[in-house]
């Protein structure tokens, strides 16, 4: 769970407990009995035990807590590794140090593992901003100096595609209970040419958050329900013209796109949210490039429609006046949470922040669902629109994983040690703890959505169902739009952001010209990186 989110929940639960102090005896008795029931359940399993470390609302976990959790979750390691088996082995682990999480947790989790196995781990901590250049430079200059790496799935093309990763042994898949992963994290994600390289420790996707108070009888939009198709959002913007937000009294707006898309590539996901519904055909895993030629699809009618939708809204002055300089962060955390905008798309945490952030004014009126769909979908194989409803949640970024590099491939003892350490971090039980407490990671296994476990740990059922439900529906959607894990994928996104912004600011004649500019830039990148290889890797990433 994200740190900020956890702190907010803890704060809310604390105030809720204070409120309960004054409740009637019956309520207190009921609460007491359910607590006892919860505790009895908790003692039944390691999962329940670790969820009590340190306990929801009892402050942020410390290194001692991480070590305790690591110790309690060692059973799976012990089943595969003898005590002291890795004595003398030294491994180097490269990962992030964001918010003092990531590597900080891994150190604590792995300390008992080091004590049991006898291996020693050296750490390379990197800030998020330094991570990508460091990884790219290591790869490009042939100076990979780490045995285990925490890495996002989009970089699998840069690493697995270049033979820099070690294939996951079968015993690891068994140890981490890989079958428990949500659908979209299963193959082909984490695999190349049929070989598995990734141990998942995170999940990511975009979901749709909207204002429930903007819809229904007597609402300012006058619409019965929130639109569920992109085609209907201009009508929402029109309906809200001249109206004021019921909470803040400031002008009301419809769906808010972050029109300053430039965000190091991450901003392109927001156009993808719109485009996926039009472009991701259920019978075709590809939606960004033609898998046989790497010809960009970003200028096909589906993508042009998505860009046109945004341009139409800009032309109709449907966005807040400062939207041209609103990046995704500002759109979500300043605007939407501050009461500007009827809806937006974002990762899993904005919805929960809406309920828990001190600066949010929309906590009681926010609802969630999977991303909107479209009433038509473009079939790239027939080059024709099909008039049928289509939903395609955008699995933006896919999430973090732990990988073992090919540096250890020649040394079986070291290799087993590296995979054992990685498997410990990606274990089923330990992952429940990282999903529930500040870790920097989101839920990513089906078992993370057993709400009873969360309730037993002390969480509010309504909250966790709200928070997790839209994620679960997106993760397991049969037409989820998966990002291509090809080399340089963020270069494609980054240049697309630049061109998109130019189009929105009127430097191109329209949506088609903007899309053509993106396509031309993408073609250039493909040629630069190597078209044949990109085709091969793109197909591999799609499992084709």
């Amino acid at each position: 769970m994200k740190l900020e989110l956890y702190n907010r929940i803890a704060a809310i639960q604390a105030s809720r407990r204070s409120f309960m102090k004054g409740a009637a005896a019956l309520a207190a008795g009921t609460a007491l009995s359910s607590t006892f029931a919860g505790r009895a359940f908790a003692q039944d399993s390691v999962r329940a035990q670790i969820l009590q470390i340190p306990g929801v609302g009892k402050g942020s976990p410390t290194d001692a807590d991480w070590q305790k959790v690591g110790e309690l979750c060692l059973a799976a390691t012990k089943a595969n590794v003898a005590e002291g088996e890795f004595a003398g082995v030294e491994l180097t682990f490269m990962g992030l140090n964001n918010q003092n999480l990531h590597n900080f947790l891994f150190r604590g989790f792995l300390k008992p593992w080091e004590a049991y196995t006898g291996a020693k781990i050296n750490w390379i901590d990197l800030a998020q901003a330094d991570y990508n250049p460091r990884l790219q430079q290591s790869i490009a200059t042939g100076t990979v100096d780490f045995d285990i790496v925490e890495m996002g799935a989009p970089f699998e093309g840069d690493t697995a595609g270049k033979g820099l990763l070690d294939e996951m042994p079968d015993w690891v898949a068994t140890q981490i209970e890989a079958d428990d992963l949500v659908n979209y994290l299963k193959a082909p994600v984490g695999t190349w040419d049929g070989k598995t390289y990734r141990i998942n420790i995170d999940g990511d996707c975009h979901t749709f958050a909207y204002r429930k108070d903007y819809f229904g009888d007597g609402s300012i939009s006058g619409m019965a329900d929130v639109p569920t198709h992109w085609e209907d959002f201009p009508a929402l913007a029109t309906a809200l013209t001249g109206k004021n937000d019921p909470i803040t009294g400031t002008p009301a707006y419809g769906f808010i796109d972050p029109l300053k898309y430039q965000w190091g590539g991450f901003g392109f996901y927001f156009l993808e949210d719109r485009a996926a519904a039009y472009a991701k055909h259920p019978d075709d895993p590809a939606w960004l490039f033609d898998p046989d030629t790497m010809k960009p699809r970003v200028n096909n009618p589906a993508w042009v429609q998505a860009i046109q939708d945004v341009l139409d809204l800009v032309k109709a002055n449907a966005y807040p006046p400062d939207q041209l300089n609103a990046d995704p962060n500002a759109t979500a955390f300043s605007q939407f949470l501050g009461g500007t905008g009827a809806a937006l798309t974002w990762w899993g945490d904005v919805g929960s922040n809406a309920r828990t952030s001190d600066t949010s004014v929309v906590g009681d009126v926010v609802g969630f669902s999977i991303n909107p769909g479209a009433k038509k979908v473009y079939n790239s194989k027939t080059s024709a629109w099909e008039e049928k409803e289509n939903f395609a949640p955008n699995m933006a970024y896919i999430g973090w994983g732990v990988y073992v590099t090919s540096r250890v491939s020649g040394d079986e003892k070291k290799r087993k040690a590296a995979w054992s350490a990685a498997a410990h971090l990606g274990g089923k039980d330990i992952s429940l703890w990282t999903a529930a407490y500040p870790s920097g990671f989101q839920p990513y296994r089906n078992s993370h959505f057993q709400y009873d476990e969360w309730v037993a740990a002390g969480y509010d059922r309504a909250f966790v169902e709200d928070y997790l439900g839209s994620n679960l529906d997106s993760y397991n959607h049969p037409n989820a739009a998966i990002e291509p894990r090809i080399p340089g994928i963020f270069q494609y996104y980054s240049i697309a952001e630049d061109e998109l912004v130019k189009g929105i600011n009127g430097q191109y004649a329209g949506a088609q010209e903007t899309a053509d500019a993106i396509a031309a830039a993408w073609e250039k990148i493909t040629d630069q990186i190597g078209r044949d290889n990109q085709i091969k890797l793109y197909k591999a990433s799609l499992g084709m």
């Binding site: 490009a140 041209l324 500002a330 300043s334 340089g488």
Partner: protein, 364 residues
């Protein structure tokens, strides 16, 4: 006594001279041989299993030591004297000249870090692309505008310097206060001012503007308004630097000249325009040239606040290169952009200094 007795200061034997020369020659041959082998290994012509360029680095260090020792052996006291400058010279070669040449070699390659094939020499393709890249020239146009604003910054800084040079109450306090923006990180200023105070919804400046009657006080939507605010933030951070240089110049100015002007009946404006300003020209030019050099590197505020937007309206060359290089790992083209910009800066500053020198000579 020890020095005079030292053989280094006496006649140098032929044997010792030859030994020194031989040492330098041997180290040079070794250095060149290692470099050559490394290059052949790197090109894949002679696979030696060398994974990085450390052997060449070690050979360079060895050569540097041998050069120093050999110089002393071969040239005695002259060699010893050379040792005072040699480490600095070798350091400059290693840390400035070599990286520049290396950068130049990268600028003529097609090198995307994500490419499997690595660097590929592509001649003048990057230069042609640069010439045809409208958004690079858009950034260049913006730089011209930003640089012209240096004159405004200079005028404000001069005014402040005059104020702080005058006999005002709490002068020391004001001097410290006016210096504070210089001590702040531009990134911090970007967040405090650009992202918070100028925020459209809750920013105090936006609220104040609404109170004044502006309906939509959006500071980064219109291209010119956005440019002006970027310039304003950069000016706020940098004016104290110009001001402190000018203040130092004012304090060094002989008081008698001003007194003489006063005695001659010059008005305050005449004293400023005909006495102080001309006398301050050398300091002013130094301040302006330094400020222009800093201005040409403007990037941090733009990257943080607008990412060059809206639609490239605030882009500087550096922020443009940043996106090309960092976000897109396009090392070859990014380096060409930087090298071309370096050449332009050198030419511009050289011409500017020449022009100013001539102008100054005419005045004197």
């Amino acid at each position: 006594m020890a020095l005079t007795e030292s053989p280094s200061y006496g006649a140098i034997s032929r044997r010792r001279k030859d030994g020194g020369r031989a040492l330098i020659a041997a180290a040079s041959v070794l250095f060149l041989a290692v470099g050559l082998l490394q290059a052949l290994n790197s090109a894949g012509i002679l696979p030696l299993g060398l994974k990085d360029w450390r052997p060449t680095l070690y050979a360079y260090l060895l050569w540097a030591v041998a050069l120093g020792v050999g110089m002393v052996m071969a040239r005695g006291e002259a060699g010893l004297k050379a040792l005072f400058i040699l480490p600095a010279a070798l350091f400059t070669v290693a840390m400035a000249i070599f990286p520049t040449l290396f950068g130049l070699s990268i600028a003529f390659t097609d090198w995307n870090l994500a490419s499997l094939t690595g660097q590929k020499f592509n001649g003048f393709d990057n230069l042609v692309q640069l010439v045809r890249d409208p958004f690079y020239w858009n950034a260049m146009r913006n730089m011209v505008i930003y640089v012209l604003f240096v004159l405004v910054e200079y005028a404000v800084a001069f005014g402040l310097a005059l104020l702080l040079n005058a006999e005002i109450r709490a002068r020391k306090f004001w001097r410290v206060v006016f210096l504070i923006p210089l001590m702040l990180s531009p990134v911090a200023v970007s967040w405090m001012v650009g992202k918070s105070m100028l925020e459209y919804r809750f920013g105090p400046v936006a609220r104040f503007a609404r109170w004044l009657g502006f309906n939509n006080p959006s500071f980064f939507t219109d291209p010119w308004v956005a440019r002006l605010w970027i310039e304003a933030m950069d000016a706020w951070v940098s004016i104290p630097f110009v001001m402190i240089l000018l203040l130092a110049g004012l304090q060094a100015m002989p008081k008698e000249v001003i007194e003489a002007a006063k005695v001659d009946g010059a008005s305050p404006w005449q004293r400023f325009w005909q006495v102080i300003f001309p006398l301050m020209l050398p300091v002013s030019i130094t301040a302006i040239v330094l400020r222009i050099i800093f201005k040409l590197k403007l990037a941090d505020i733009i990257i943080t606040v607008t990412s060059g937007g809206p639609g490239g309206a605030t882009d500087s060359v550096s922020s443009f290169i940043y996106r090309e290089y960092r976000d897109r790992s396009n090392v070859g083209y990014g380096t060409m952009l930087a090298m071309f910009y370096l050449v332009l800066i050198v030419i511009f500053i050289t011409l500017l200094l020449k022009f100013l020198r001539r102008h100054m000579q005419r005045m004197t």
